[in-house]
Every structure is written in C-alpha cells, then in structure tokens.
Point group: C2
DNA sequence: CTATAATTTCAGTAATTACTGAAATATCAA
DNA sequence: TTGATATTTCAGTAATTACTGAAATTATAG
C-alpha cells in the first residue's frame, strides 16, 4: 500500500485541517484515507500506508467509530476487520452535524438553561443572565432550525440549498403573511 | 474583581468547551468573561479575575482580536485599553461563521478544486477524484447557501428560523414548480 | 479445547501546545 | 524630549496531548 501523490496530499491536508478543530492529525488522516479508498481497509493496511503504529490506528478507528464516521465489515475468509467511510456525503454531513451538536452544543445549552433559572443575587448576575438568555435563545433557534432542515431528504435539501437567496424572498413574503411556524414563540 | 459563582461557572464552562474545537482554555475564558461583563475590562482586570499572567491575557486578546470577537476602546482619562464583546449575538454569530469559513472551509475547497483538476494517472486516482468531487460539491453547496442565508438582516433571519420545518413545506412546493434559484446548476 | 491470529489496552516517552516572567517596545502626559 | 505607564514579545518551563511497543485480551480456525 503506497499512496499516489494525489491521495497523499489529500490525506496530509486532512490531517492538518483536523487540528484546526478538535480532531487530531492521525484521526484526520485515517478518515481521509478511508474516504478516498475504493475498497475497505484493515488496520494493518492503514498503519502501513500512513506509517503509524498499529496501536495508534486502533485508537484512531475507535475515535472515528465514536463519531459514527466509519463502517466495520468482514470479508469472506478473512478474520481481520475492514473499515470504510460511508459513500453518501450528505449522510456523512448529517452524522457529523448530529455528533457535533451532541458534543458541542447540547452541554452548553444545558448549562445556560440552568444558569438562567437561578434568581440573581446582585446586579452583575442580573446582567450576566440577560446575556446568557440572549445566547441561549440564539443557539436554540439556530440549532432547532438546522435540525428541521436536516430532516429533509437529500433531494429536497439539495434543491432548497440550490435555490439559495431566492428561497429567502419566498420566505420573507410568507413571514409577512404572519404564517406561524412550528417554533413560533408566544413572546 | 472577583467573580460571582454564576459568572465563574459560565467562564469555566466556556474554557472547557473551547478546547472541544480548536480554541484554548484561556481564550475561551477571556471571551466568556467579556461576554457577560457589563462594562469593558482592561487586561489587568482580566488577568486578575481569571488568575492568568498578564502576558497570557495579552496573547488571548490578540487571538480574540484576530477572530474579530472583541472591541477595543479607550475610556476618557485612562491610558489603558479596554475590551468588550459586541452585544448583538446575531452579529457575533455571523462573525464566527465568517471567520470559521475562511479558516476551516476555504482552504479545503481550494485544495479539492486543485486535486480534481489534474488528470488521473491510474484507477485509484480516478476513484479518489470522484470522491473529492462529491465532497467539494457538498461543501460548496452548503456554504454558498449558508452565506446567502447569513446575508439576511436579523429580523428576517429570526423569522425564517422560527418558521422552522413549516418553511420547508413552502420551499418543497416552490421547488416542484421548477422555480430556479440563483445557484441552480445547468447539470 | 488449544494454538494462532487479531485487536485493544496501557504505561512510558515523545511531541506539541500553553503559560509565565523578564526584557523590550510602544504610548502618552508633562 | 523625558519619565512613567501600558503593552507585546519571547525564551524557558510546565502541562497536555499524541504516539509507541509490549503485554493482555479477544476471537476463531483446526
């Protein structure tokens, strides 16, 4: 298993990029390799291709698995485990969004909700709570909306997005009509 | 400057959360403190409140500045620099989205564009390019769409999002009518 | 079962990133 | 200007995170 220059550079880019958000280089590279690989790979193949230790690959795959970004399968007559990245990029996008929401948004929303509930002891807290309330409302609105959008099937989603700004004109109009949506608040 | 328990816990949460994506604890805490502070703070006040060294605060503020997340101002009769977080949470959201796109998406799109252009030397590359093409198309569609949505003013955006799933029904219908949007591809 | 192959765990170490204090630089009032 | 105050830089160190190799565990073919 040695990589073509094209795949090499894709893998390296993903490794670097990974570290810009929370994911480590190794994990990024493993995912990139699986993503562009036509057939599933076993851990030894990955370790050899990327020059990582076998144990490092094992940990990386475990991490990718916890993000639900890899699929595990067995090949007939072979005891080893083979890994692949799901092909449907829209499905991958959904998975990633779900997982990030769960890990990065939900805990914050929960903390904010609690913080807003306690009655303020002093002016600082009163002000801080007002800020937290605004942040909570924004995050909740955006994520709820995004969750709704995400529920659409690929075709509709694609169509919606390709409509782009034009779609907003329609909606602006709808809004003016006072058509209430599922998340309309009574405030 | 000592923090109330409420502010304390908000600040700590933000510090921990920060490290889930690429931002370090210190930077997260500084931002959180500024966010809930009623008046602008100078670097010494921040250092004292969070028990960081003065130089660490300086670096943190520089980082936040590069993300355009803090505003620098001067108070009359005081030479020191005072920092605050903009109040408008929707504006903050926009800034964050813009900055992350610039740092995390654009370089990847650019790499993918280049990778797709070279003519494949072998079957591996042919397959890899097809995968990259799919990834490129997805990212471009989503970010272009998101950019359009972001251009809307706060009121419209809020209205659009609160409409939630209901909005999609309208759009689905519009789509069926074959109404082409600004991003409709000819393919 | 037993032997062998595959995978995971984990303690130790390497590499990276975060943080500090001191020194250098910049800013401004007098 | 000059002196005092504010801010940044940066080399050294601390803390954290990543990675490895060896040992332990798990799985399966015979």
């Amino acid at each position: 298993m040695n990589l073509t220059p094209l795949v090499q550079s894709f893998v390296l880019h993903f490794g670097e990029m990974g570290s810009r958000w929370g994911i480590n280089r190794t994990v990024g590279q493993i995912y990139a390799l699986l993503f562009v690989s036509e057939r599933p790979l076993n851990a030894d193949e990955i370790a050899e291709a990327l020059a990582f230790s076998r144990s490092n690959v094992s940990m990386g795959l475990k991490e990718l698995d916890s993000w639900r970004l890899v699929r595990l399968q067995h090949l007939p007559g072979d005891r080893r485990e083979y890994f692949s990245a799901p092909e449907d990029v829209w499905a991958i996008f959904r998975t990633l969004a779900d997982e990030r929401r769960k890990r990065e948004i939900d805990p914050t929303l929960s903390m904010l909700r609690d913080a807003i509930l306690v009655s303020p002891e002093n002016p600082e807290d009163r002000f801080a709570q007002e800020r937290m309330r605004a942040m909570h409302e924004l995050i909740e609105t955006v994520t709820d909306w995004f969750t709704d959008v995400q529920k659409l099937d690929e075709q509709t989603l694609r169509k919606l997005m390709k409509l782009g700004a034009a779609a907003q004109k329609v909606l602006e109009f709808t809004g003016k009509l006072g058509l209430g949506g599922s998340h309309e608040r009574s405030s």
